[in-house]
Symmetry: C2
Subunit: 363 residues, 2 copies
Amino acid sequence: MSRKGWLSAKEVRIADVARLAGVSTATVSRVLADPNKVRQKTRDLVTEAVRRSGYTPNSVARNLRTRRTMTALVVVPNLANPVFAQILRGIDDELTQSGYGLVIGNLDNCAEREARYVELALSRQVDGIILMNGRIPESDKRTMREAELPMVAMCAAIHEEKIPNVVVQDREASRAAVEYLVRLGHRRLGYIAGPPPNVIAAERLAGFLDGIAEAGLTERDFVCWEGRFVFSAGVAAAEAFLRLKNRPTGIYASSDESAIGFIKVVRAAGVRIPEDVSVIGFDGIEFADYVEPTLTTFRQPLHDLGRKGADVLLKMIRQGMSPEDWNVRLPLTLLERDTTGPFLRDPKKVSRQSRARTRVLSQ
Amino acid sequence: MSRKGWLSAKEVRIADVARLAGVSTATVSRVLADPNKVRQKTRDLVTEAVRRSGYTPNSVARNLRTRRTMTALVVVPNLANPVFAQILRGIDDELTQSGYGLVIGNLDNCAEREARYVELALSRQVDGIILMNGRIPESDKRTMREAELPMVAMCAAIHEEKIPNVVVQDREASRAAVEYLVRLGHRRLGYIAGPPPNVIAAERLAGFLDGIAEAGLTERDFVCWEGRFVFSAGVAAAEAFLRLKNRPTGIYASSDESAIGFIKVVRAAGVRIPEDVSVIGFDGIEFADYVEPTLTTFRQPLHDLGRKGADVLLKMIRQGMSPEDWNVRLPLTLLERDTTGPFLRDPKKVSRQSRARTRVLSQ
DNA sequence: AGGCAAGATGTAATCGATTACAAAAGTCGA
DNA sequence: TCGACTTTTGTAATCGATTACATCTTGCCT
């Protein structure tokens, strides 16, 4: 009952191949799934019939019967963010290697879309889910837990049983960023935060405050600006910064994009980086090495993070929901470049040394 | 016959809902598909049963029966490239609006993966395909044409019947870029190309040559460097540039990333932009506005391009393969910023004026 | 009340594979 | 050559929805 136009061509089914090869559909199926199960001679017959007919199995039918789709759903808050793009590549590599495919669900910070993806998952179109959005409605969590669908949370610590977290050491690295600025002599700091409801943003903020406390600083020694991990957030922070009478000399931005936005604006206003103000970012996107001056930042092991997340998901899918604790927290690397320098009481002409150092965050 | 662990929970099917509501499965199905087809009273009964049981239709089964998946496959060469990320958002918006989902196939410049996606498409897991890879093996083209799967080519002119192209005016804009540099007085030009097998790269190169011819320049007046649209390509081009005795003063890079990579390296070598060398890019990625100096470039209407591509695909899916010519070629916008300036015979101290102009490419 | 059209619901076939189970074919030693 | 056992193949049920067609209600007009 082929439809209007484009399906009119011969739609070849497994039965056609079976007829052509003079065997049953079961045999054809077996040849395709596990060739050793059928005799060499029959196998050749079938293989030839498949080739001649140009048969491709209908995987929708297969998925229905096997109750598996060999596909995982990955929900990202924002595809345009290079951080997620890199993580996705890691996930993709790992899944592909195991014969799984992936569907990417882009939220674009639009809650409404979220429902669509929950739906997708619940309707058995995928075998598991990786969530990278920082906040998930309670109702959805409940629904999905009830559906007992394997699920891992990345970039967003979900404190739920049965949902492992695969994340980086956001809090520790944030603490270390402050420590780094303090060690350079900065005693008045600024922080460009992430969006408040986001769990990662909260972690990094906590780390920042850890560092503040550790350095013996108080509330009067720092300023916080709210951001959304994007360029424009840095721009807004910079504008606020420029209005201050008593400006911080050390800025920690919780994302590279916001660091870069900040730098652009303050430099345009005549502020020198790093002579007047040091800036350190977070993420380690490729771009950070192409701005002027090159951005000091903590690099996330994005590709590894993706692989690890997919690895954990695959384990859950294959072994069923496991009681074991599969939480993972990967360390970051400090890339010390040109936007940070020692605090100068009297910033005059300073010859900038060019660097090329990289050291691993010690914990 | 629930599997090992995670499927042991009650798997609720349409029959369960039907029983609960005291109606047939047909009625339940109708309520879900088109509520007006059933009487108010029955409808309420069913709705309530659905709610109570927590039923979600199994879309794999539905897809098998309806022979549609309401899903499109989008193949991209490189997810990490912000150009594709933006196009994807446009595609996603359009598809979502029409109730379609999308699967993203990331090639990562790895031909082997390509086969996977052809397979995916052929196995009826998607209703249509959008291809953004610049080169598609002949064999695949044939296979897919035979399968008569709706397909549109974006960012890659495929000269095939039944495969509409939705692209930007690569060639025209390239020509205009040269014209722009020439009008500024530059008579010695450099071109950072894309990867040769890529159709887009070829279009842009052709446009560059158009511009050269139009300006009355000859082969001795320009240099070409091969690239791959990425940062590192610009870096390599810059190194070659620096080795030249008679350097070009106007550079046209066929991607923003390569322009940015180029600028970073030549500036480090003491070349001033735009006093010594003018650089114009192509793409208009957000990032181009955050480098120093801000990059003059042709902006692609990425979001619109994505929407348009998806729109054409949906038309093909809904109306069948059409003989009509659905080719689309969108215009670009010149963003005139700070990396370009007039040719200076004797480049001394020049006060740079800050700009904020944008004008639309006239064709 | 009777008749008829329109509307609502149910029955059962169908989509295209996989796979449990049964049946047939092959292998091998006595 | 005859079981006994293993390997290979076939038959038919199954996955979970949709939908053509048949049947049953309902409403309305005379």
